[in-house]
Symmetry: C2
Subunit: 588 residues, 2 copies
């Protein structure tokens, strides 16, 4: 077995072409075993095996610097750079992250997880090299799906200006997470169809030397191409055509399904865990959207490369036709386009994961909110219970979104409330509305929920007591109920419980009324405290005698954490909170 | 005179070609008179006169919808759509904004001021039209300088997928605010050099029908081209070559200087107000940067299309060579590139206006802050005293930036402190640092300032009193001094004054110590209160007996405001604040 002998890229260079092909097979086998147990990005890694081998065969990492876009395709790179045991030894499977990580290896230059960044990051490495007199190669690896992202375009445009060594490897597997969309892909097809010989070539037109590798899973052809561009003194783009999921028939046959795969049975490709569970907020949100779209051609759902965010399967998307727009990883365009649709009288909904809303702050603020257009934004995975990779955290959205004028940011606490808010948002024309989709097991409403949210910033008092009032936002409403019960049990206090519903404004009337017979107001929010909801309450009461306490997360980048541990560390369990409240009450 | 007879685009259509040429001359004359008095975007408007006439001659606005990118070139459009008096009658000069504005006219569809948005917005209008069964033309006007922006690329890619009427007018005047940069511009030159006949054509490659108008200041040629594409059932791009500043020799000769022009003498083009005033924070910051760059090739300044933000004249840029990188309006790339430079051991500085940092939140958070790289961000015009157009406000940066982990956001209060912080930031390697450049008349330090800011979150107490402590952030430090004096005069209170310096963290030790002999802590910040600095202080003291008051701006979009009025409205004058503090103290 060759893979077991690879401790660094130097060991790759010792092998001949036939041995490299064996190595590729061994790497696929190791990946298959590991992903079948742990889950992970399947298709991109299987497709990039030969290119990864060839890169490390030709270049001298870490002196030569390879930057992987998103870096979800870097599993093979990790195997060849001293981390093979994380793929060969089940006991060490969790010793590496799913993305490049400088803390793991000198061969990794950035923690990356968002799309379309590699060219710009590599351009910076090259610029630094040139300024400091270095001579190494700098290589940006980017997929076809990421090339439509604006940041990639900006980088591609500017990197040419380096007039020095800069190598882009365009890994064209003809698909993003789902299908590619847009005129760029028409052009990439022209290039593929002509074996790279088309007279019109975007990359050449922009000043890049251009090489085409028809079979990007042929290690020898790749070694040849990379050898030709090594030490180039100008910008080069190597266009390699690979097969996503290469080498595992099920993955090759259904590339979208195998983009990211949960643990599965190797023999038949079937998932180990049954996917049939109780319906989730994603499911019921999708169902309502589908119903609305069916009844109203003006309702248009926009996704940015991740249609799974709203559970739109390929079949659903086909049925929806033009009412579902997948813009590719183009969040900026998605939001600006939504503004345009709303301006024309349509009812646009843009849905994506919390972390990706960060990519389009300016469009939300300028195109949507300054123009006060009725755009609906569905913010998914906004929770400490959401994705837990450092690059995909869902705990920063409240400071990001809730401080933009005109935006109404809603935090539903259960299924019926979520659906009522979504329905209302689609039918109202007053303001842009963002909805923080709850996370965790879906809750049912205890009673009727409002259908009209147009009178802004009206909190809902669900239990009226005295002394202590708990404002429990969104997903943490359940925690609020537990704390309320805990206060009763432990301290004999019948407190007040409030579902604030609106993140973006204060119910001054209710807050003022609390001053009559409460001495402490407690806020709970499922995100960082800095810039968040609780601080607005703290400011409101600052000049009064009311005491306030604020439970939420510390401002920090977490990585691959255990949610329960983090909740505990931030005193976000009912028993801890009750204890803290008791301690505070003792000082008043 | 024709212009006086134009009450709507219908009146444009009554004129023949010779008359349209006269109209163009009259429009230029009106613009010349107005801008010479009021200042404004000169070059783009002069260049776009014929195209604007031709658009309104051929299309049926407002049913047909024209979206102007940035909309800084929409002065001519306003003249032809019922707003001529705002250009002909000096008494009405201020009756229109410098950008499109739906509140002014049904011919304006969006408040716009940021770059590269028109294609995406127009794509949304077209998508809405198609969904709702409309048949109008949708036209996006965009400049060559804006085309390198990522959002424009995302829109260009996706709009083709409409497969319906969509017209892009690319106004290629061969310059942005300053020179264009990047491989795209090499390609545009190929297209111009070949009169649009180059075999390789990016736009055709992406599926667009392509028309080339060699003289984009020839109204007849433009009318012909627009007539050919009117009612197209697919995506079309009309590439028109115009002369920025066309028709005024001084502006044609120095296009960068005449991009935006202060009031000037028509006869010689000289500015009416002498530019020689006392040095500003921009000047001294530039001088320090130049010195650092001269002594250290690793110091690299990045600008994104607005080199004026750091007062880098064309001459300075030529001298700096590769140490100054103008990436064009590509803020995302600028920040990601800075991350790469820092990772390679360089010392990158990215400087732009506050409002444009909104365009790159994700890159700051992900590429820079997750990787904790020593990038310096200079945040300019972050103040209520900054730009006052609704699209360029500098009052939202504290919630945006100060809640990102790892980022150190500093608020200097005077010249020496600003320079010391900038110097320190460039030489340290611990964290990313953003500096909120003070605004207003430059202040000198009263005493020595620290040179080392690496022990984070240490506030500076500049006057120790009791009862009331004032935390006066950045530009509002002077206001803090006035309030301190007012408290003494009015209430006989010798308060405490603190320069917090760090926006991103709390000096818990100092805050705790204040509890000994203070009963009220007051915060002052030059930005919106929501998600800002004061709220962090409010949260800190929430559970204690300390009262807090927070002075800053209300969360709202302001437009073309008088700063003094806004300060007054937000109780941000010393006398108002002293009165409010007295009222609060009376309740304690």
């Amino acid at each position: 077995m060759y893979l077991e002998t690879i401790y660094s890229p130097a060991d790759v260079k010792k092998l001949d072409m036939a041995q490299l092909r064996c190595l590729a097979a061994e790497m696929r086998e190791a990946l298959l075993q590991k992903i079948s147990v742990c889950g992970g990005h399947f298709g991109s890694n299987f497709g990039m095996i030969e290119a990864t081998i060839a890169l490390h065969y030709v270049f001298e990492s870490p002196q030569d610097k390879i930057v992987f876009d998103v870096s979800h395709q870097s599993y093979g790179h990790k195997m060849l750079t001293g981390r093979k045991d994380a793929y060969l030894d089940p006991a060490r499977y969790s010793s590496v992250s799913g993305y490049t990580c400088p803390a793991e290896s000198e061969h990794d230059f950035f923690n990356i997880g968002h799309t379309s960044t590699s060219i710009s990051l590599a351009c910076g490495l090259a610029k630094g090299r040139d300024a400091l007199g270095g001579r190494e190669n700098v290589i940006a690896v980017i997929g076809d799906g990421a090339l439509c992202g604006g940041e990639a375009w900006e980088g591609l445009n500017n990197a040419w200006e380096l007039h020095s060594n800069f190598i882009v490897v365009l890994n064209d597997n003809q698909i993003a997470i789902a299908d590619n969309h847009g005129g760029l892909y028409r052009h990439l097809q022209d290039l593929r169809d002509s074996d790279g010989k088309a007279e019109c070539n975007l990359f050449r037109a922009m000043g890049y030397e251009y090489l085409f590798v028809k079979d990007g899973n042929d290690v020898e052809a790749l070694v040849d191409a990379f050898t030709r561009v090594r030490d180039a003194d100008h910008a080069v783009l190597v266009h390699i055509c690979t097969v996503k999921g290469k080498g595992y028939a099920y993955a090759e046959a259904d590339k979208e399904d195998w983009h990211w795969k949960h643990p599965f049975h190797i023999e038949n490709g079937l998932s180990k865990s049954s996917r049939v569970g109780p319906p989730t907020y994603d499911d019921v949100g999708r169902d309502l959207l589908l119903e609305k779209m069916k009844n109203d051609p003006g309702v248009i759902t926009i996704v940015a490369g991740v249609p799974g965010a709203i559970r739109f399967t390929p079949q659903i998307r086909r049925q929806l036709g033009g009412q579902c727009v997948d813009v590719g990883v183009s969040e900026e365009h998605a939001v600006a386009m939504a503004a345009g649709i709303a301006r024309r009288g349509g009812k646009p909904v843009f849905v994506t994961d919390c972390s990706f809303f960060q990519r389009t702050f300016d469009q939300i603020s300028q195109e949507v909110c300054i123009n006060d257009l009725p755009v609906t934004l569905l913010v998914r995975n906004a929770s400490v219970l959401g994705m837990n990779d450092i690059t995909h955290l869902g705990i920063f959205d409240i400071p990001l979104l809730s401080n933009i004028p005109n935006l109404v940011y809603l935090a539903p606490t259960n299924k019926q409330e979520y659906l009522a808010m979504l329905d209302w948002s689609l039918e109202q024309t007053g303001h842009p509305v963002a909805i923080r989709i709850p996370k965790g097991a879906m809750r049912e409403a205890a009673g009727p929920v409002d259908s009209d949210y147009s009178v802004l910033d009206r909190y809902q008092m669900t239990a009226r007591g005295d002394q202590v009032a708990i404002l429990a936002l969104g997903t943490f409403y359940g925690l609020g109920e537990q704390i309320l019960a805990g206060l009763q049990q432990t301290l004999g206090i019948s407190g007040t419980l409030i579902n604030p519903r609106y993140i973006t404004g204060l119910d001054r009337e209710m807050l003022q009324e609390l001053q009559k017979d409460h001495k402490l107001v407690v806020t709970l929010e499922d995100g960082i405290l800095d810039g968040g909801f609780g601080e607005k309450i703290a400011r409101y009461y600052g000049s009064t005698g009311m005491r306030t306490m604020h439970f939420g997360l510390k401002k920090e980048f977490l990585d691959r954490y255990d949610a329960q541990e983090i909740l505990q560390a931030n005193h976000l369990t009912a028993s801890q909170a009750v204890q803290d409240i008791a301690a505070c009450l003792a000082t008043i």
